[in-house]
Amino acid sequence: MLITETLITALFIFVLAAFVGFEVINKVPPTLHTPLMSGSNAISGITVLGAILASGAKEWNISVILGLVAVVLATINVVSGFLVTDRMLQMFKKKEVKT
């Protein structure tokens, strides 16, 4: 068999999740464009899980080193992404209070 059953299941999950992604975003006010982009960018840092799994082996080799570099990069993406989004959204709140 050319394509395994696992891959088919994974494709189903991918397509269904993509439909959810399409549906979840609608009528976003322009001020929220950048925070929404930044928030979803932080979510895409989920690739840190892949990095953790790729660098899981006990012995040192190129795969583990590449995986660990990916762990650091993806963690920066995640942490910075959520914090920066929160900073932006905090700013909106202060503005609303003032006016």
């Binding site: 950048t34 840092g45 080799n61 900073r87």
Partner: protein, 288 residues
Amino acid sequence: MSDFIPTGIHLVYLAATSLFIVGLKKLGSPATARNGNIMAGIGMLLAVLVTLLDQQVLNYQMILLGVVIGTVIGTLAAYKVKMTQMPQMVGLLNGLGGSASALVAVAEFWRLLGESQTIPLDSSISILLDVLIGGVTFSGSVIAFAKLQGIMSGSPITFPLQQLINVSLLASYIFGGFFLLTAPHNLPIFLSMVLVSLVLGIMLVIPIGGGDMPVVISLLNSFSGLAASAAGFVVMNNMLIISGALVGASGLILTEIMCKAMNRSLFSVLFSAFGTSSSSSGNLDVTS
């Protein structure tokens, strides 16, 4: 006891995915946006913590060290960046995510090469897709960052035969891909394909002008989601596939919304530097 751990991991993944979906939904409305962001953050924390319990993860000390280093750098960067620099900051973070996804693919390719003579077809297809999307996201984001930060000129860079070169780069990637599917033990070909993906990312972003940059960053955000999803296919992890697809799709919709707000189409943003449409869109660029 140890039988419970894999089931537990999957159940926590399910909870984390739900938090991501609800969080994204809430991020779209001003009153709930901050809560939405916090919910997504909690989902991420849960997902990372349970992944460390995976039986595949043996050297968790080194991984924890990596997470700590990333957290420190990420926190410092998030508080040092100025509010006016937000678009390029998001661009740079996109690039980090994309490069991490591509590195996962390269690491997995290396591991599979060491283990056996042949690489299963579905693994190699996922790896090649991940390298392409991740590589394009990385180098494209770096260029977008450089343009917005003023490190390089923000105006479109075009030269003769640019699109022909882009098409042939993509064609050479696909050709190299088919070659690797039949003969995976060819490291020079694999590495040059990594290089081609990076060049493609640069070529995609250099012809785009400063005012259109936020749209491009949004598109690259969508790409970084797709790259994460591709990494999910590489390591066969549902959490990655779902979250990546969520970001990929919602990022695409957001890109579309941003284009509409500027009265442009995505096509004209990406290709207006070429050919005739540049004159008609020129005046809009100034106002945006």
